[in-house]
C-alpha cells in the first residue's frame, strides 16, 4: 500500500478539501484560544443580550451575562475536540482488546465475550452514558469514560471478524511455529493488518463522540469548569425567544465540525476500500 497514492485519491475530491480546510481552521482556533481571547470564555465583557453584528467586539453577540459568544465558541472547541479524540481512543482500545482476544481465541472465550458485547449493544447508549456521568459526577474523566464505555462494541465486532479470518493465514502459522507468544502474534502480526478499517471507524467515531459530549453538556452534564458548545446551547434554551443567536451559533459549530469529520472519514473509507480491492 503506497501512501501518496492514497492521499492523491482522497484529495481529488472538492468536498474533502473543504472538510480538511474547515477542520484545520477549527483546530487552529481551538489551539490559539488563549491568544485570541486571553480572558477566557467566562469573562463578562459586554452588555447582556447583545445581538450579532451589533458591536465589533462581539461579532456573534453576547449571552445572558454579557459573555462573548465567539470567545465561548473558540474555547468550547477545545473541549469538543479533546474529549472527542480521547474518548474515541478509549473506545478503540477497549474494542481492539476484546475483539482481538475473542477473534484469536475463538470457541468458548469468543462466545462469552460476544454475549458480553451484545449486552452493551442492546442498551441505549445515550441513556447509559447519561446515567454513568450523573452518578459518577460530571468531569472530563467521567465523560470520557462514559463515551468510551458506550462506543466500543462496533470496534470489537470489526476486530473480531478480521481476527477470525486472519488467524488461519500462513503468516500466523509461521509465527506460531517460530514460538512467538500469543500476545505478540495478536498485536504485532495480526493487528497491523486490521489497521485501515480501525482507522476509518475511529475517524467516524470521533464525530459521534463529539455529538455525545455535546448532548451530555446540553443536559448540564458537562465538565462544569470548561465552556463547551453543548453547554452554550443548553444555556440558551430558556431565552430562545429573546436571543436566537445564543442557540444558533454553538449548534452550527457542532454541526459543521461533525459534518467535516464525517466527510473525511467516508473519503478515507472509499480510498482505503478501493486500495484493498486492488491488492
Amino acid at each position: 500500500m503506497t501512501r501518496p497514492n492514497l492521499l492523491h485519491k482522497m484529495f481529488s475530491r472538492a468536498d474533502v478539501w473543504l472538510a480538511t480546510l474547515v477542520l484545520l481552521v477549527i483546530v487552529a482556533l481551538a489551539v490559539a484560544a488563549p491568544l485570541i481571547y486571553p480572558k477566557g470564555p467566562w469573562a463578562m465583557g459586554g452588555r447582556p443580550f447583545l445581538g450579532p453584528a451589533g458591536d465589533l467586539r462581539f461579532p456573534l453577540g453576547t449571552d445572558t451575562n454579557g459573555r462573548n459568544i465567539l470567545a465561548g465558541l473558540i474555547w468550547g472547541g477545545r473541549v469538543s475536540l479533546v474529549i472527542g479524540l480521547v474518548s474515541t481512543a478509549v473506545a478503540v482500545s477497549i474494542g481492539v482488546l476484546i475483539g482481538a482476544v475473542a477473534g484469536y481465541a475463538g470457541g468458548r472465550v469468543d462466545a462469552a465475550l460476544m454475549r458480553f458485547t451484545e449486552i452493551f449493544q442492546v442498551v441505549p447508549g445515550f441513556a447509559l452514558a447519561l446515567v454513568l456521568v450523573a452518578v459518577l459526577q460530571p468531569s472530563a474523566g467521567s465523560i470520557v469514560l462514559a463515551i468510551g464505555v458506550v462506543s466500543w462494541p462496533p470496534v470489537t465486532r470489526l476486530v473480531r471478524a478480521e481476527f477470525l479470518s486472519l488467524r488461519s493465514r500462513d503468516f500466523v502459522y509461521a509465527a506460531q511455529l517460530q514460538g512467538q507468544s500469543s500476545l505478540r502474534i495478536m498485536f504485532r502480526q495480526i493487528l497491523p493488518n486490521v489497521a485501515s478499517p480501525i482507522i476509518v471507524m475511529g475517524s467516524l467515531m470521533v464525530a459521534t463522540a463529539i455529538l455525545l459530549e455535546s448532548s451530555l453538556s446540553f443536559l448540564g452534564l458537562g465538565d462544569p469548569n470548561r465552556m463547551s458548545w453543548g453547554f452554550m446551547v443548553g444555556a440558551s434554551r430558556t431565552v430562545l425567544r429573546q436571543a436566537w443567536w445564543m442557540a444558533t451559533f454553538p449548534g452550527l459549530a457542532i454541526a459543521v465540525t461533525v459534518l467535516a469529520l464525517n466527510v473525511l472519514g467516508e473519503a478515507l473509507n472509499d480510498a482505503l476500500g478501493s486500495q484493498s480491492g486492488k491488492r
Binding site: 454475549r115 441505549p124 445515550f126 444558533t248 459534518l259
Partner: protein, 323 residues
C-alpha cells in the same frame, strides 16, 4: 433453528441484558460519592434520618455485599424499583404514569422516519447525480451531523416563535379545556415538533441506506429480466427493486429502535414532553438516583422489546429467512 427457538433466544438475551443493567445500577449506587442509603434517597441532607434507616433496613445495607445485591435484584424482579423520596411515590408508579407519552412519541417518530427516509431514498436513487439526488444527499448529511437538540431548538425558533404555527412545548394546551375531536387535534399539534426532532437523524440514515440499496439492486439480473419482460419502470422500481432494497433498512431500523428510546430523553427534555425521558432529566436535576436508575432500566427494557418486535416483523417480511 425455527422461529420459536430464535424468539426464545432473543428473549433470554434481553432478560440477561436487563439483569446486567440491574447489577450495574447496584454497583453505580455504591460507586457514587456518599452513603448508599443517602444516594438512593436522593439529595443527601434533604432527607430525614428516619427515612434513611428504613432504606438501610429494606436494602440490608449492613449485610455482606452479595446479600445486598440479591435483595436489590430480587426486588427488581418483583418490579419494585425503589421509592422516590423527592416525589413521595414509588419509582415504578412514577414511570408507569409517564410511559404512554414516551410510547406515543417513539412510535410516531419510528414510523415517520422510516416512511420519509425510504421515500427520500427512492426519490434520490431514481437518477443518481441529479439535482434532486444531490439536494436530498445534502439534507441527509446535515440531519446526520447536526445535534438533535439543536435541530429541535431551530425548529421551535422557526415554526413556533417566527411563524407561530405549532406549540413550542408540552403535551396539550394548558387551560384550553378542549373536548373530543378538538382535544385530539390539540394533542396532535403538540406532537408534530417532537416527532420531527426525534426523526431527523433517523431520516438521514434511512435515506442514505435506501438510496445505496436501490442503486445496488437496480444492477441485479432480476431487474434486467423484469425490464426484458416489459414491466413498467414504476412497477420495476417499487415491486422489484424497492422490495429487496428495503430488507437491510428494516434490519437497521430494528437496531436503531432501541437508540430512539434513548434519543427520546433529549427530545422530551427540549419539548417538556411528559414521558420517561423527561422524568429521567428531572431526576437528574434533583439527584434523585433511585428514580434515575429505575427509569434507565425501563428505557433499556423498552429498547430491548422494540428490538425483538422488529426482529419478528423482519422474519415475516422476508420469507427467505427460514430461521
Amino acid at each position: 433453528m425455527n422461529r420459536l427457538s430464535f424468539l426464545i433466544g432473543r428473549i433470554c438475551q434481553g432478560i440477561l441484558a436487563l439483569f446486567a443493567i440491574a447489577t450495574l445500577n447496584f454497583f453505580l449506587i455504591r460507586a457514587a460519592p456518599g452513603d448508599p442509603a443517602a444516594v438512593m434517597a436522593g439529595e443527601a441532607g434533604a432527607v430525614d434520618e428516619k427515612f434513611l434507616q428504613v432504606v438501610r433496613l429494606q436494602y440490608g445495607l449492613d449485610l455482606p455485599i452479595l446479600q445486598q445485591w440479591w435483595i436489590y435484584i430480587s426486588g427488581i424482579a418483583r418490579l419494585d424499583l425503589g421509592y422516590s423520596y423527592r416525589q413521595q411515590a414509588s419509582v415504578a408508579s412514577l414511570i408507569l404514569e409517564r410511559l404512554p407519552a414516551t410510547l406515543v412519541l417513539t412510535i410516531c417518530a419510528f414510523v415517520f422516519s422510516l416512511v420519509v427516509g425510504v421515500t427520500l431514498g427512492v426519490l434520490a436513487a431514481r437518477k443518481p447525480g441529479s439535482l434532486t439526488d444531490r439536494l436530498i444527499g445534502f439534507l441527509a448529511l446535515i440531519f446526520y451531523a447536526a445535534p438533535m437538540y439543536w435541530l429541535a431548538l431551530m425548529a421551535v425558533l422557526i415554526f413556533s416563535i417566527r411563524l407561530g404555527w405549532l406549540p413550542a412545548f408540552g403535551y396539550q394546551s394548558i387551560g384550553a379545556d378542549y373536548h373530543g375531536l378538538e382535544a385530539l387535534l390539540d394533542r396532535m399539534r403538540h406532537l408534530v415538533l417532537p416527532t420531527l426532532a426525534l426523526s431527523f437523524f433517523y431520516v438521514a440514515i434511512y435515506t442514505r441506506m435506501t438510496r445505496a440499496n436501490m442503486i445496488a439492486m437496480s444492477q441485479m439480473a432480476f431487474v434486467k429480466t423484469a425490464r426484458a419482460k416489459g414491466a413498467g419502470e414504476t412497477r420495476i422500481q417499487l415491486r422489484h427493486v424497492l422490495r429487496n432494497a428495503l430488507l437491510p433498512v428494516v434490519t437497521l431500523a430494528g437496531l436503531q429502535a432501541g437508540n430512539m428510546v434513548g434519543g427520546a430523553i433529549m427530545t422530551e427534555t427540549v419539548f417538556a414532553w411528559p414521558g420517561v425521558g423527561r422524568l429521567m432529566f428531572d431526576a437528574l436535576m434533583q439527584r434523585d438516583y433511585s428514580l434515575l436508575l429505575g427509569a434507565f432500566l425501563i428505557t433499556a427494557a423498552l429498547a430491548i422489546i422494540f428490538n425483538i418486535i422488529t426482529d419478528i416483523i423482519y422474519t415475516l417480511v422476508d420469507p427467505r429467512i427460514a430461521l
